[in-house]
């Protein structure tokens, strides 16, 4: 991760809220769905990296990229995009590394949300 990425917040909340007309509770609802989906997809990714299943790596990466982008989660979107790319280019090494940064960014998001961010 570059230094500039670290300074960035895990969620661009004003942007996400603007997209859904400022409805804070709806944003929470969407984030709950995101959490469920992320955990499911992350488990799929772990297994896929284990089994060198590049198609699943690519598809799950793509899936998380879309979901992250609609919720304005820039770091997660970036990591998901890298995962998709790793899957598309059969790059197991990259996929392993991105798996790690996906988890890190996800934790950072959860902590940020817990702290009332």
């Amino acid at each position: 991760m570059a230094a500039s990425d670290k300074a960035e917040l895990p969620i661009n909340k004003p942007e996400a809220l603007e997209r859904i007309g400022g409805d804070e509770s709806f944003l929470q609802e969407l984030l709950t769905i995101y959490r469920e989906e992320f955990e499911k997809k992350y488990a799929e990714l772990e297994k896929a990296v284990d089994q060198k299943d590049f198609q699943t790596i690519r598809e799950a990466g793509h899936y998380l990229k879309g979901a992250s982008s609609n919720l304005s989660l820039p770091a997660l979107k970036e990591a998901a995009w890298k995962m998709e790319t790793a899957g598309a280019s059969n790059d197991l090494q990259a996929a392993r590394e991105v798996l790690h940064s996906l988890k890190t960014e996800y934790r950072r998001l959860q902590e940020f949300l817990k702290s009332g961010g």
């Binding site: 859904i20 609802e29 769905i33 989906e37 899936y63 879309g66 979901a67 982008s69 609609n70 304005s72």
Partner: protein
């Protein structure tokens, strides 16, 4: 989810044309995006049908009269562009406006999507104001399409019917004759053909005026139509000449139908609009095709046979029925 799937499929396939115009299909495997769209589209007054994979989306598109669909590019089952391509190949009578949704954003993808048959293309993250505006365009285009279809239906109806009497016109009759000949051959059935001509049309016109002549033709056509079986056909063949197709009728039955109509017309009084009723006399010439012959029957020669029979009816004193066996004449 299984139940919801079924419910959405049922809602998509079991509804009327009008109702379906407010429905929108969202095919998207990502639950976050799907929830977002569902909420917003609902707020804008759309009824949202959801599909989380391409196969279910395809079932809904195929069987329904959905007018707008938002399709994700990457989905399990069919992908968005594939859905567009398949739906366009179906050539459904109504138009479905297709919006492709993708996180891809290269010009190449845009072109591929449009080539596959999409009308519009949006990238994630979805800008909702933009989506709202694009849906307005979709509705405008659907409305234009609906107006065109309605106009085309009206025109094709007009092109097939005789404007005075409301029965089929000559051109449509010739195509009906071809269809019925093929069907008779396929199903091994008889086919009767009758030509009918007024004996005293000139006299009616001279005595009561031309509007009266028109009124008589109109009533005559309706009288015959009311007294035919559902699957019989009647057309106005020329000025005061009508032609009838009687599927399943052999020569004797065709003759019997003509005799019955002749009798009915004899006993009828036709309004002329002048206060005096007109009495109408007609002649019938008929023929019939027997089932069986391997070679197809030439429709023109069939009409010629019936015309020949009509000529004999006129020559023999009018106000009568003459039938000639079509095969017997060969």
């Amino acid at each position: 989810m299984g139940r919801n799937k079924k419910r959405d499929l049922k809602r998509a396939t079991g509804n009327s044309f009008r109702k379906s115009s407010g429905q929108i299909l969202v095919a998207e495997d990502d639950r976050v995006t799907l929830s977002l769209l569902e909420r917003k589209l609902g707020e804008w007054g759309y009824e949202v049908l959801k599909a989380r994979d391409g196969r279910l989306a395809w079932e809904m598109l195929k069987k329904s009269e959905l007018r707008i669909a938002i399709l994700d590019w990457m989905m399990p089952g069919f992908k968005g562009p594939e859905l567009c391509r398949q739906l366009r190949q179906l050539k459904k009578p109504h138009y479905t406006y297709l919006i492709l949704l993708t996180s891809r954003d290269s010009a190449g993808d845009l072109i591929e999507g449009l080539k596959a048959g999409a009308d519009d293309y949006m990238t994630k993250p979805i800008n909702l104001m933009e989506l709202k505006a694009r849906l307005k365009t979709a509705r405008r285009i659907i409305e234009l399409e609906d107006n065109l279809i309605a106009a085309r239906r009206r025109l094709s109806r007009l092109a097939m019917t005789d404007s005075l009497t409301g029965v089929w016109n000559r051109r449509k009759f010739l195509s009906l004759l071809n269809e019925e000949l093929n069907r008779s051959r396929r199903e091994g059935r008889f086919l009767g053909l009758l030509m009918m001509d007024l004996d005293n049309f000139k006299e009616i016109n001279d005595r009561h005026g031309h509007p009266a002549g028109d009124a008589v033709l109109k009533q005559l056509a309706q009288l015959i139509r009311r007294n035919l079986r559902k699957y019989d056909r009647i057309a106005r063949y020329g000025g005061d000449e009508f032609i009838l197709l009687l599927p399943g009728s052999d020569l004797r039955e065709t003759e019997a139908v003509a005799e019955r109509l002749l009798d009915l017309i004899r006993r009828s009084r036709f309004r002329t609009g002048t206060g005096r009723a007109a009495v109408v006399s007609v002649s019938f010439g008929g023929t019939a095709v027997s089932p069986g012959p391997e070679q197809g029957v030439d429709p023109k020669s069939l009409i010629r046979t019936a015309d020949g029979a009509l000529y004999r009816a006129k020559r023999d004193g009018r106000d009568r029925v003459v039938v000639i066996d079509h095969e017997g004449e060969k």
